[in-house]
Symmetry: C2
Subunit: 116 residues, 2 copies
């Protein structure tokens, strides 16, 4: 007998209280290998608890999924979503065998437009 | 007997004459499934023939490769490269079986900084 957990988007830490004073840096969704809809819901959760801005971060092959997430969010759920910033970067990762390699990163920040 | 083609980056149309008057819109590199180095060389060709700006376009899973291309170019070849613009979008594509699906797109424009 195993306890069934509800299918919550684990990538997004749920804010403890819906407060406008929450720092924008907290609104981060890390993109991994789960279905894209999970990340879209994570972003929606931020907006529905009073957040005006979300940052989606990804690296390596997940970068295209980050763009998918933003596009799905913008087209289907939050029509008045505006791009705030996109940052590209490179991180050095060390594999299990000790080999170093570079991996590209992306950070896409989007916000609801004012007055909506 | 087949003719062997030299391994040139086919994605980038080579400009006929190195002229500064060339429109910026011509400097487009489409990212596909070839090794990333091919696309980096395509970008370098533009810069070496007098271009100051290159636009890298990709869609779907190639998006992460577009970011890889830009990062490799910036880190290893053109140190004074600045981001000009990043556009995200969605295109509708029709598969061979007639099914429609949406695919995300990215357009990253980079330029050499002035005075270099």
């Amino acid at each position: 007998m195993t306890e069934e957990k509800p299918a919550t988007p684990e990538t997004a830490e749920k804010p403890k209280a819906p407060t406008e004073a929450r720092r924008a840096e907290d609104n981060v969704v890390f993109i991994g290998k789960k279905p894209i809809m999970n990340y879209v819901i994570a972003c929606l959760t931020f907006f529905n608890t009073g957040g005006r801005q979300v940052c989606v971060k990804a690296r390596g092959r997940a970068i295209s999924r980050a763009v998918d997430t933003i596009e799905l969010l913008r087209r289907s759920f939050v029509k008045d979503l505006g791009l705030v910033d996109i940052k590209l970067g490179t991180e050095e990762v060390t594999g299990e065998d000790g080999r170093r390699s570079n991996v590209s990163t992306i950070e896409i920040t989007v916000a609801k437009k004012e007055g909506s």
